[in-house]
Symmetry: C2
Subunit: 301 residues, 2 copies
Amino acid sequence: MRAALADERGAVLERREVLTVRDREMEALVRQIYDVAGEATGGEAVAAIGVGAPGPLDARTGVLYHPVNLSNDDIPLKELLERRFGAPAFVQNDANVAALGEWLHGGHGQTEHLIYITVSTGVGAGIISHGRLIDGFNTTAGEIGHTIIDPDGPPCPGGHRGCVEIICSGTSIARAAHEQLEAGRASSLRLPVTAEDVTAAAREGDELAGEVFFHAADTLGLAVVNLIHLLSPEVVVIGGGVSQAGDLLFDRVRAQVQRYAMPLTGRGVRIVPPGLGQDAGLVGAVALAMRQSGLEATHGT
Amino acid sequence: MRAALADERGAVLERREVLTVRDREMEALVRQIYDVAGEATGGEAVAAIGVGAPGPLDARTGVLYHPVNLSNDDIPLKELLERRFGAPAFVQNDANVAALGEWLHGGHGQTEHLIYITVSTGVGAGIISHGRLIDGFNTTAGEIGHTIIDPDGPPCPGGHRGCVEIICSGTSIARAAHEQLEAGRASSLRLPVTAEDVTAAAREGDELAGEVFFHAADTLGLAVVNLIHLLSPEVVVIGGGVSQAGDLLFDRVRAQVQRYAMPLTGRGVRIVPPGLGQDAGLVGAVALAMRQSGLEATHGT
């Protein structure tokens, strides 16, 4: 959990970072949010608050719906923050605020069309199209992790098969390697195994690790091809833990786009790592607060 | 090929319709466009021209890139029309203008989030999000037909497998039935077979026809689930020849959405046939001309 205090130009003055409490009790979580935000502000009055939070959430009401791993209850986060800090609060999906951060301050140029994909324990996306964040009718747009890309793929919690997340997330990469190891496949990998382990072993030429990692990377590449065909972005930023694999991942994704995107559609599209690294969400939350409260609406870097 | 003359409120005064010439010679095609448009206008001066054309095209320059079945050459349609008729011309993908038509005049209410999918000889889409047409960086957005939904599916001309069009289009439905019949499968169907034949036989309970049609319908349903997760539309309009199957198609698509769309994301989404029928494109082309030329920018019926 990260919090920052920014000045009226959006420059970060103070920041705090803590491990999120994991007892699923809403009161403990909210207390921690108050504490971390309070420490970052040092008790100073703020003009606006921006939050990137895990979904599912309603960005209009600022309510989080029993967020996975965080709380058994729905959390009316906007209302709670506004009452506590006496300033307007704006809540958005974490991938959406990261997309805002990368778009406005990621150093990707003056584009109006950027999609940020985070590939981490889960997979999500934030879509900027024609110069605005697309969150849609239910403020839930960007859920690329739950789009189906292989109906014969592994079963998903949602009841179907082969969604992007169940193949491409770090969790899924680790699980696929785990299953193969349990089944007795030869490999330099040893249990317990993480996505980082699989990535490292794939880089060293381990066959099992390569199979698992490159299947995830190639599938992510197809998901990017689909995004390009559907939305014609100029920039696709891939962040999150799995993107740390660098060229091992990006080369495969770019090759899929090279191979399968229609010529006119794929023309000039850049597929790049985040310019802000792990700060995309924090910078984006500041931008969200400033834009939504009318403090700033310009496109800077 | 259809052309209409509309008044300053967008009401259609005259219309013409002809079978498009199919000799792939650009001159013949352009002459036909001039003739049909000239007949519709009756020689009157026009204030603006709107065109829905098959892709691939660049909506900014108004150039069609050797459109399939129409021409062996690129066609600078915007430039040609502006020179011939002495008025600004605006060219967009045919699915995009149909989306505009359905959004503004299809009777779907005051939504800001509508996606129009045409399922015909090909499959395409037009996306309205946050009250504007999304055509993206290369003006090529909406190419849902070329998104990959089953990497183990039938091979596509684009070199990959299992794009939406290769499974769901009318052409693909007819081809799949044809292949099964050629392989000797028992069926009430007889060669040569069309998508309409397959639909009718599926309705009558023919096993082969049902298999083919419902696979296409269920796959289209997954594509709609993916659109809902990515873009959170309020209204999904499905038009084109295959949509004439009515409830036989819509019941399957709605069932997929019911089953697989995440609760918050799928809330309140309507999946409906076009309100304008085959006129969506014509009405949308008028709307395109009026909005782009500044004649009208309001949201009508």
